[in-house]
């Protein structure tokens, strides 16, 4: 038995090493002088510099995409959670005609390929003058954020014991007050999980941002680093520095909330 667990530990260590290596390589390279990036790569770097990061915030204006990404992902999360939580409560706890149809519709939208609604969204946003603006990104983002939050929160609300609401109803509280004063506070962990996942997806989104943000002033972080250009060659040092900066917030979230993320990912997918 111990012989086997020892072998599994080795397998795990190998896989974890393979998983972490590209990240290590990217981080080390982002601190390596441009001239050394493509000459005889070494596992342990000989010299580390900060130039690429400095260039990111001086010669390039990397604060702008960071600000854009924070605002867009933040607003998307706030809107999706506030409207989605109320909707999910009704879907999880109330009986009404059309309920399962609504659930099926939400699930269907979650499976929409983004690229199939790019053309009308582009035409609509152009017509109402929202191309290149924050709402012009937040609205399209809600197409994936809203179904995601509704779906996860319906699952969460269903797990809460019914007795809580019955007790509140006996105390004379209406359904809305029950939702506000009993259900929502108790659901804080579920809402936190849904917010984390929504924020991650919005922060990472690329296709909509690429299609609807036309100029560098409105680029989000993924678009900005994907479109980095140098004068003569690909500025790999700065690209990798940008990649590390783009990954920072995400890595932080994963470190803090890994347990919650795993719970959220598996809740919707695997029936207990």
């Amino acid at each position: 038995m111990t012989r086997w667990s020892w072998r599994w530990a080795v397998v795990t260590a190998l896989i974890v090493g393979a998983v972490l290596f590209p990240l290590y390589w990217a981080i080390v390279s982002s601190f390596t002088p441009e001239s050394r990036l493509f000459t005889a790569p070494k596992l342990i770097p000989a010299q580390l510099i900060l130039d690429h990061y400095r260039a990111l915030f001086t010669t390039r204006d990397f604060w702008t995409p960071i600000r854009n990404s924070l605002i867009v992902a933040g607003a998307t999360t706030a809107l999706a959670i506030s409207l989605g939580a109320v909707c999910a409560y009704a879907l999880a706890r109330l009986q009404f005609p059309g309920k399962s149809l609504t659930l099926a519709f939400v699930l269907a939208v979650a499976m929409f390929p983004q690229v199939s609604i790019v053309s009308p969204l582009y035409l609509i946003l152009r017509k109402v003058g929202l191309l290149d603006t924050y709402p012009g990104l937040v609205l399209p983002y809600l197409t994936f954020a809203m179904p995601l939050t509704i779906w996860m929160l319906v699952g969460y609300f269903r797990q809460l014991p019914f007795e809580l609401e019955e007790a509140a109803a006996l105390d004379g509280a209406g359904r809305l007050r029950t939702l506000w004063e009993v259900v929502l506070p108790l659901s804080a962990p579920g809402i936190a999980t849904a917010s984390i996942l929504t924020f991650l997806y919005s922060w990472n989104e690329f296709l909509f941002a690429l299609s609807f943000a036309l100029g560098p002033e409105s680029y989000t972080v993924p678009v900005a680093i994907a479109l980095f250009r140098g004068q003569y060659q690909v500025p790999w040092g700065e690209i990798l520095a940008g990649a590390v900066v783009a990954t920072g917030p995400v890595a932080l979230i994963v470190l803090v909330a890994q347990r919650r993320i795993v719970a959220g990912l598996t809740a919707g997918a695997v029936k207990g």
Binding site: V86, Y89, V115, I117, P147, G155, S211, P222, A246
Partner: protein, 307 residues
Amino acid sequence: MSSPRMSSAAQAARGNETRLAWMLVSPALSIVAAIALLPILWTFWESLHFHDLRMPWLGRPFVGAANYIEIFQSQRFWSALAHTGFFLATTLVLELSAGLLLALSIDRVTRGRGLVRTAVLLPWAIPTVVVALVWRFMFESPGGLAPTLFDRAGLTPITWFADPVAAWAPLILADAWKTTPFVAILLLAGLQNIDSSLYQAAEVDGAGPWRQFREITLPLLRPALLVAALFRSLDAFRVFDLVYVMTGGGPGTATEPLALYTFATLLQNLDFGAGSALSIIVFAVAFLVALLGIRLFGRSAFLERSP
């Protein structure tokens, strides 16, 4: 509700509940309808027209199925479809088997599981654009990590991104690297649902580890495997970010999947008629895949998750 005559008080309460429910549901629902349902109908309508934004003077005449006919006759469409299918099949096989291995080993690790889980979650959580750039950097020739390793091993270094066949390797590897953890996490949850007394009983009966795996683990893991396969198929089918950033569909259009072809038709050629027809095709296929998947493992896992 089973009694034919409901008391009027109960009826009024039900009416109230319905009204309240729709009041709570409608804000979110109307937004989703406005930004997802309406656009997809619009895309369909648009796909029946000729609409080239570069030639506004030609207007937007109704052309019926002409866009679809044109697409089905184009070589580039069939190649893009084949590329998408190839990418889907290879990544699915790779990710499910590697994910299963990873899940099995995490399941057996007794110490430091939190650490392992964090490490494994990172590739899943970081932006696909970043993944594409990092792997592109590692395979960039000459002087990148992979070409150098090939060179040192005495093999002919490959110029990965200039070769229509070799360019698939970094794409598939990067995708597997990014999403195997997700598969593993789904499968791990499935593994932890398996009753451990089954293994003890098998042990007593003298079944070895391989037989236990084949006759207990695999069958009981089937639902989780199917869910993972469905999610991965849908994602692989609409793959865009990774290819756009890593190869741009190149060299030429050798690695161009459907989503990228659609995007190029829409926003680079500004041919909204044909682009919309492509969008509808992508949508229809994705929908079929989803329906098929839901049929395969029953709607229960999705629609009836009630307690």
